[in-house]
Amino acid sequence: MSEYFANIFYGLKSFAEGLQLTMRHFRNRKDLVATLQYPHEKWPIEDRHIGFPLEEYNIIRSRLNVDIDDCIGCLQCERACPVDCIKIETIKPPKGSDFDCGITSNGTKMKMLVARFSIDMTECMFCNLCTFPCPEDCIYMVGGPNSSKHEIEYEYASRDRESLIFQFANPSESDVLAVGGENYLRAKAGLPPLAPEVPVKPVETVSTATEKPTPTAGEPDVKVLNGITDRMVRATAKKAFMAAARGGSDLAAIAKSIQAALEEAGKFTDEAKAVLDSLAVTQTPTPVTVNEVSSEAKPDIKTLNVLEDKMVRGMAKKIFMAESRGGKSASEMVDAILAGLKEADKLTPETEAVVRQLAPEVPVSTPKPSAPVTDFNVKVLNGIEDRMTRGLAKKAFMAAQREGKSASEIIQTVQTALSEADKLTDDVKTLLLSIGGDKA
């Protein structure tokens, strides 16, 4: 019986002791709390001393930093990176552009605009190899011990992966446009690239080559022969090519002499024949349609570079891009740009004059200027979304081109090939029509 009461007494005593203990913690919570509210507060970082001046050594590699104002876009760091976590895209201003890319702190004049400089720190392995080749010392590891320049980001944590991809370059849209980076912007927005603005060029070079086959004009074509896999055959072919070119014969003659040389050596394989064919193709007269169209100038966005006010220029260019994407004619474009500027209250007489230059001699009588078949190569088919269809179309395109057909004929061939394979959807049809213009 006494044990029973002793137990109860003991129980009550320990009961009280336990309650006292927890109450003590409850009351002194402010001093005793052990929680560090991590994202809001952090332990201070101790100064580190390991026996030599730490500032000089990149001991702690916390993350890469780029002083983008000093970057000249030489891509040396991108090449040095063993894991390819650095991605750089540069845009070179067109010749004659007065765009000032700036000067680095070392005094080097920058020659291009760095449109993108991203470092994916989730891939970086902190090897520091990218920092050494940099001629401007603008890429470096930060977070060295006691570094006054940058705090150590020692936890280096983030809630999502995207925020570990650092975008250092952030050029304004107008700057990119000013250096002729429309295609860069379009690629960023997921749009197909614009057709090159000077379509006449390739036609001209070819025609000069045919008229006056100088060795210099023929020279780059030696590389065509690199398509031959067999080394012996390639060497023989190249030798014949060089000899013929030095002799001043035109491409067809070169091809013929190569063929003769190869047949002599008993090495005229199918592959070699195919390559020679493609060599010959380059000199086939380009479809007349192209020449026709090229005479009619496409409205050129560079006309707008004359505009002085950056805002106005950007706005005009934006509208221009939108309109040209919509396939509008030059005069429509001018109207749209003028309307847009008027709305923004930026339309001065000078601006209007500049904009009107876009479509100066479009005769009103022609209701619809023939669609500019500007860049007639296989890339126009990239607009086809379905991969199978695209492949088929490209194959047909290449075959037809090799046979030396004209543009409209090529389009027709592609169309028939696709309809045979039952892949000719409405989308593809419209695309083909837009390429071939009215002539298809």
Binding site: I8, G18, L19, V33, Q37, E41
Partner: protein
């Protein structure tokens, strides 16, 4: 004929509106109680363990973070999470009973509030059998607990529900015996009469040494009846996962939670009413204060005092929870049958003698 119908409709509508008003009021009190008590409990437990508790989810302009009130929106966020969770019914469960069980438990707690006073006037119904009704109704939940354990078709659930039933049935005896002591002295089961006796004399906890002891017996039994630590063997996490609640999720589990915290509030309010003077202010207990101080005994102050006492008792329950380790099943039964019941019985006899003297 017309008159009779009209008057019947009148009575029905007036009663109906009264009943629905009371129901909505009770439900609101239960919900707010659960919201606040969960936050309170998490904070108390954190402070007792040298932690900070919820600190990140702010609401109403309170931003989460370093400030003391940082986590004020945590329970609201948790409620939203609970209500939007997937409601899982196990394949082999007895589906009808499993769906029914949480509602029985909830209704048990809900209906009990009819007799629970929040002040001298904030009382849905002033029964002449007030205390008896509360005790009877608060044990309805056991039916739901056994149903939940059985319907889950899970050995842990069944273990938990049987333990819970055994525990609640056992601890009702000392709880009832200690309340009978009060009824014996006050001569009534009515809440108003009991508080009236305390207003005329003194708080029951100071009535006699036996009543003092009875207070502790009742409070400990109350803790056991609400299945809280150290008497939480029905849902002992380390042994039974979560006892009878193991297979529940989402809204039904939220109902369990709501009822559990409602039961806590019921036990604490009843203890406050019966032993600690209910809606009487501490000043009214002693006659040393001047009359002017008794303004703290108005109708609305009564609600303040009763909630103050109840919340203090809830804090004590939480204090218990974060202090004591869980009892073993045999220790639990030992405490009930060999300690609390004998003490309560002897108490009753002694109080009877005390009253005769």
């Amino acid at each position: 004929m017309n008159g009779i119908w009209a008057s019947t409709l009148d009575i029905l509508t007036s009663y109906g509106s009264m009943i629905s008003l009371a129901g909505v009021g009770i439900f609101l009190i239960m919900a707010v109680n659960a919201l606040v008590a969960v936050y309170f409990e998490r904070k108390v437990s954190a402070f007792m363990q040298d932690r900070l508790g919820p600190m990140e989810v702010g609401i109403f302009g309170f931003k989460g973070g370093k400030k003391f009130w940082g986590g004020i929106g945590q329970t609201i966020a948790d409620t939203v999470k609970l209500l939007t969770k997937e409601d899982i019914l196990p394949d082999s469960a007895d589906k009808k009973l499993m769906i029914l069980a949480p509602f029985i438990i909830f209704i048990g707690a809900f209906v009990t509030f009819i007799g629970v006073p929040f002040s001298s006037v904030l009382l849905v119904s002033n029964f002449n059998i007030g205390i008896f009704y509360i005790i009877a109704m608060s044990s309805v939940g056991v039916v739901g607990i056994i149903l939940a354990g059985w319907a889950s078709n899970n050995k842990w659930s069944l273990y938990g529900s049987l333990r819970s039933a055994a525990q609640i049935i056992s601890y009702e005896i000392p709880a009832g015996l200690s309340l009978i002591l009060v009824v014996l002295v006050a001569g009534s089961l009515n809440i108003h009469d009991i508080v009236g006796w305390q207003a005329d004399h003194r708080w029951f906890i100071f009535h006699s040494p036996m009543a003092f002891l009875a207070f502790f017996v009742y409070f400990i039994s109350g803790v056991a009846e609400t299945n809280r630590t150290p008497f939480d063997i029905p849902e002992a996490e380390s042994e039974l996962v979560a006892g009878w609640m193991t297979e529940y999720s989402g809204f039904r589990w939220a109902l369990f939670f709501l009822s559990e915290y409602a039961n806590m509030l019921i036990v604490c309010i009843l203890t406050a009413v019966v032993f600690l003077g209910g809606w009487l202010s501490p000043m009214a207990m002693f006659n040393i204060f001047p009359e002017s101080w008794l303004i703290f005994d108005g109708i609305w102050w009564g609600a303040f005092w009763i909630m103050f006492k109840a919340i203090f008792l809830i804090f004590v329950m939480m204090w218990f929870r974060w202090t004591f380790p869980r009892l073993r099943v045999d220790q639990l039964m030992y405490l009930c049958w060999k300690v609390l019941i004998p003490f309560a019985l002897v108490n009753l006899v002694l109080v009877s003698i005390w009253e005769l003297l």
